[in-house]
């Protein structure tokens, strides 16, 4: 199959997955919560009005439609203006830039979710505070072998990059390793926050918190491993000048990120299994 056709198929998959399929799943989850856990019975879940939630839902849907339309336009534009045999016409940055734009609605939901938790805390009038008298240890939430694999992958990346630059520390090398190191520091920070930080949702049940912590830490480890792999793939592609392969890798990068983050949330956190009783008016 010519690489250009392969690219179109993978880019279509990126557009569909990140701007249609996963947003639809998230909107289904929001609809399920509103229908089955209305504010009259679960007032603690709605620190502001139901209208606000529905407004956010509409904005999220609208943004994804706009981005989906942009994706289709890009696809048509690439198809019309590019000669299928001329790989040089593909802009390698398109899947990366478009992928970053596709994550904007999700980031908006994250920020608004964080604000919602803050409001829930402000409205929480309970005077009792509870805590488990057990330490939360990293390896209770993630296998040590997985952590070890992520560390090995990172070290292998450094060794690989040094080998490719013939053991010379170039500016590109420093930028690459610096970026991955910063990303890994961020992942470690998120892990520590999940383990030892304050609960974002003041009403969250202990078992839900355990599930969430396990999920968050494992996601960070998988994403760390994937970022290392992606960087090595990028280096190989640049070294051997595989132009169209790079554009395919860039598109796959965002899809894998989405699968490991949004996809895993949808798969592992079935909305029907979440304990919503903690948000009822009479729950303590």
């Amino acid at each position: 199959m010519p690489t250009s056709v392969l690219f179109y198929l993978i880019f279509i998959s990126q557009i569909w997955l990140l701007s249609y399929f996963y947003p639809r799943k998230i909107l289904d989850r929001i609809r399920f919560v509103i229908k089955n856990h209305p504010p009259q019975e679960y007032p603690k879940l709605y620190p502001e009005s139901l209208d606000k939630v529905q407004r956010v839902q509409q904005i999220y849907k609208f943004l994804n439609y706009i981005i989906l339309a942009i994706g289709i336009w890009l696809l048509v534009d690439l198809g019309m203006l590019s000669n299928a045999n001329n790989h040089d016409n593909f802009n390698e940055g398109i899947p990366l830039m478009y992928g970053m734009v596709q994550f904007i609605p999700m980031m908006m939901l994250e920020v608004l979710g964080y604000k919602q938790f803050k409001l829930m805390k402000q409205k929480d009038t309970r005077t009792n505070r509870k805590a488990e008298l057990q330490p939360r240890r990293l390896f209770a939430y993630v296998s040590p072998y997985l952590i070890f694999s992520a560390v090995v992958m990172y070290i292998f990346l450094i060794a690989f990059e040094l080998y490719m630059t013939q053991y010379t520390v170039t500016f590109d090398f420093m930028i690459k390793i610096g970026s991955v190191s910063l990303a890994n520091l961020l992942f470690i920070g998120i892990t520590l926050f999940n383990l030892y930080g304050k609960k974002l949702d003041p009403y969250q049940a202990t078992n839900e918190r355990v599930k969430q912590t396990k999920f968050a830490i494992r996601s960070m480890v998988f994403i760390s491993m994937f970022v290392s792999l992606f960087m090595m793939a990028q280096t190989l592609v640049n070294t051997y000048e595989l132009g169209t392969v790079e554009i395919i890798i860039n598109s796959l990068y965002f899809q894998v990120l989405a699968i490991f983050s949004i996809g895993r949330i949808i798969k592992n956190f079935k909305i029907e299994d979440i304990d919503f009783d903690v948000y009822k008016a009479e729950s303590s």
Binding site: T127, R129, K130, L133, Q134, P135, Y196
Partner: protein
């Protein structure tokens, strides 16, 4: 094992923590050498100041109910259960009452006892 504190209870928070941990030891809900959460973790979970938890842990360590083992963390003392029965404040009150009774029988006045007590406390400070 869950610990519950009431932020509006007149009993100080650190006292609530100390009492509940001691009670958990007595009821064998936590056993000797069991690991306890770090000060930061417990403070964040209860949303109280870490100094409050630190004070509670210090008092429990003084009473040999828990042991701090540096980077390894904090653990229940091997003899925590028997040490929980010993109430330092009760013992202090009993000792002081007995001493004051002896001094009064010897004829010392209240102000003489207070001055002597203050001087004795100052000696320990310096």
């Amino acid at each position: 094992m869950e610990i519950i504190i009431d932020i509006e209870d007149p009993m100080p928070l650190f006292t609530q923590l100390v009492e509940q941990i001691k009670q958990a030891v007595i009821n064998e809900q936590i056993k000797p050498n069991d690991a306890l959460p770090s000060i930061r973790q417990l403070a964040n979970d209860l949303e109280i100041n870490s100094k409050t938890v630190s004070k509670a842990y210090r008092l429990l360590e003084r009473d040999n109910v828990i042991q701090a083992k540096g980077y390894r963390g904090t653990f229940v003392h091997p003899e925590a259960k028997s040490n929980c029965d010993f109430d330092l404040n009760n013992w202090l009150a009993t000792q002081l009452e007995a001493t004051i009774s002896t001094l009064k029988q010897a004829g010392a006045t209240d102000s003489e006892i207070r001055i002597a007590f203050t001087n004795a406390m100052n000696q320990y400070k310096s």
